[in-house]
């Protein structure tokens, strides 16, 4: 099939970007979206033009590196990552708009590539259990109810892609932050730091210039890993609880 792409081109973080139109011919429906961009890039290179920069690594939907807004939706029309989106979701003659994640906290580095370092800093602020190597008791000394383990796992599948931020009308990082708070907060090992963790992570989230959450739910709707909206409520619960708790720093 033949497609028209309109892609956001931006040379660097300081430059102004714009949408540029490209025609791509003979796209196979079995191609992944990124393979379709590869085809375009090969052609651009041979024409002496700079190929479109986009982030990707695993190309199997798990590293969270790829990410772009496709026709106005983070990761495109299917609920999956851009690398797992296939061209059979489009039809011949379509025009496809491709833009980077847009958020102050995710500055554009080039074209479709953004800097998601803010997510790392949220984790650094408290998204962990302090368990230095060598200090661990036998794994079976802490049983975990299966239901808790399963729910913790569901939250732990977040791939840090940033689609939630990209989709949120407030550019809020609540779903990402809540996923981690939920993952660790549901496990017995996570209890000692539970209150301080949420306070520190939320402070960092605010400091990174993400917006606040108004429970719109767009984030969970596009999350490729199906992180549920309820994690946000759980974060709220923990944070409000921590305000009265003794543990908060």
């Amino acid at each position: 099939m033949n497609l028209t792409l309109r892609i956001w081109r931006q040379k660097g973080s300081e430059d102004k970007g714009r949408m540029v139109r490209y025609e791509v011919a003979d796209v196979s429906p079995d191609m992944s979206f990124l393979e379709m961009l590869d085809v375009l890039n090969e052609r651009l290179t041979l024409e002496g033009e700079e190929p479109v920069a986009f982030d990707h690594d695993c190309r199997e939907g798990i590293c969270g590196m790829c990410g772009m807004v496709i026709n106005g939706v983070a990761h495109g029309p299917e609920v999956t990552t851009a690398c797992q989106l296939h061209m059979r979701s489009f039809s011949d003659g379509d025009t496809i708009d491709i833009e980077p994640w847009r958020a102050k906290a995710f500055p554009v580095v080039k074209d479709l590539v953004v800097d998601r370092g803010a997510f790392d800093r949220i984790i650094q602020a408290g998204g962990y259990i302090s368990a230095p190597t060598g200090s661990a008791p036998d794994a079976h000394s802490i049983p975990v109810a299966k239901a808790d383990a399963d729910r913790a796992f569901d939250a732990a599948t977040c791939i840090g892609c940033g689609a939630c931020v990209a989709a949120c009308p407030n550019a809020s990082a609540m779903l990402f932050t809540a996923a981690k708070v939920t993952h660790l907060g549901l496990l017995p090992q996570g209890q000692p730091e539970r209150a301080s963790r949420v306070v520190r992570m939320v402070d960092q989230m605010d400091a990174e210039d993400f917006g606040g959450c108004t429970n719109i739910g767009e984030c969970a709707a596009v999350c490729p890993k199906g992180i549920p909206l309820e994690t946000i409520s759980r974060l709220n619960h923990d944070l409000l609880g921590s305000l009265s708790g003794a543990d908060a720093k």
């Binding site: 309109r6 956001w8 949408m19 807004v69 026709n71 106005g72 939706v73 708009d97 833009e99 847009r102 958020a103 102050k104 906290a105 989709a167 009308p169 407030n170 550019a171 809020s172 306070v199 939320v202 402070d203 989230m205 605010d206 210039d209 993400f210 917006g211 606040g212 959450c213 108004t214 429970n215 719109i216 739910g217 767009e218 969970a220 709707a221 596009v222 549920p228 909206l229 309820e230 946000i232 409520s233 759980r234 974060l235 709220n236 619960h237 923990d238 944070l239 409000l240 609880g241 921590s242 305000l243 908060a248």
Partner: protein, 223 residues
């Protein structure tokens, strides 16, 4: 200086939820009170009067009313202040807009919270000037709140403004009522559909109740 944790986006949202809830409680009372309009002028005016003298002399005259007014004022101020801070943050959080935008799940209600809120505020202002403070008197001034009300709603423009505003309030609450639970950490995957359903039902009921008065006046049931 307010400690950071009381300035966090989550805390601000909690403040909105609590104040929102206070306002909702008032609205429920208010709606029920309004229904007295159907019992006729005396009943309605008596109710209005009762509001002012209840508890007297244990509470000074107008005590309850003033207590409500203070609680409401504080709520409105905190609610609007938080909404403003959060709206500004959200604005700053996305300096560059999308060229193309498609909505996946967000409801109309959730998207119009800010604009809807502002229009509601304007409405409340007008409403108080009209019915409480009595400085504007569409359709003719009167000492009787009942008459002021009926006179007002007999003006189609006024009635329509009320009705539109009511719809906006309904929309605000349809999202807001569920949102209160989520914000205060009481929602969960299992409870969410229930809460959302409850929020919709309560908003519809509330707005329907409010709506009865202007609609009845318009079609001449109450005059």
């Amino acid at each position: 200086m307010i400690p950071t944790r009381y300035r966090s986006s989550v805390f601000l949202k909690a403040a909105m939820a609590v104040t929102g809830a206070v306002m909702v409680l008032f609205l429920i009372m208010h709606m029920v009170g309004n229904l007295k309009a159907f019992e006729g002028q005396e009943s309605f005016d008596a109710y209005s009067h009762w509001l002012r003298v209840v508890g007297y002399p244990a509470v000074p005259e107008g005590g309850l009313l003033w207590a409500i007014r203070i609680a409401l004022t504080v709520s409105v101020v905190v609610h609007i202040a938080s909404a403003t801070v959060l709206a500004l943050r959200a604005r700053r959080a996305r300096p560059q807009r999308y060229q193309t935008r498609k909505r996946v799940r967000q409801s109309y209600a959730s998207r119009t919270m800010r604009w809807g809120g502002v229009i509601i505020a304007v409405f409340v202002l007008y409403h108080i000037l009209h019915l409480t403070v009595n400085v504007i008197a569409p359709g003719g001034a009167s000492d009787s709140p009942y008459e002021r009300l009926v006179n007002g709603f007999q003006q189609p423009l006024v009635a329509v403004f009320y009705i539109v505003s009511l719809l906006l309030v309904g929309l605000h609450l349809q999202h807001g009522l569920w949102s209160v639970f989520a914000t205060l950490g009481a929602s969960s995957g299992r409870r969410e559909p229930l809460l959302r359903g409850g929020a919709t039902a309560l908003s519809v009921l509330l707005i329907a109740g409010f709506m009865l008065v202007p609609v009845s006046v318009m079609i001449g049931w109450v005059s």
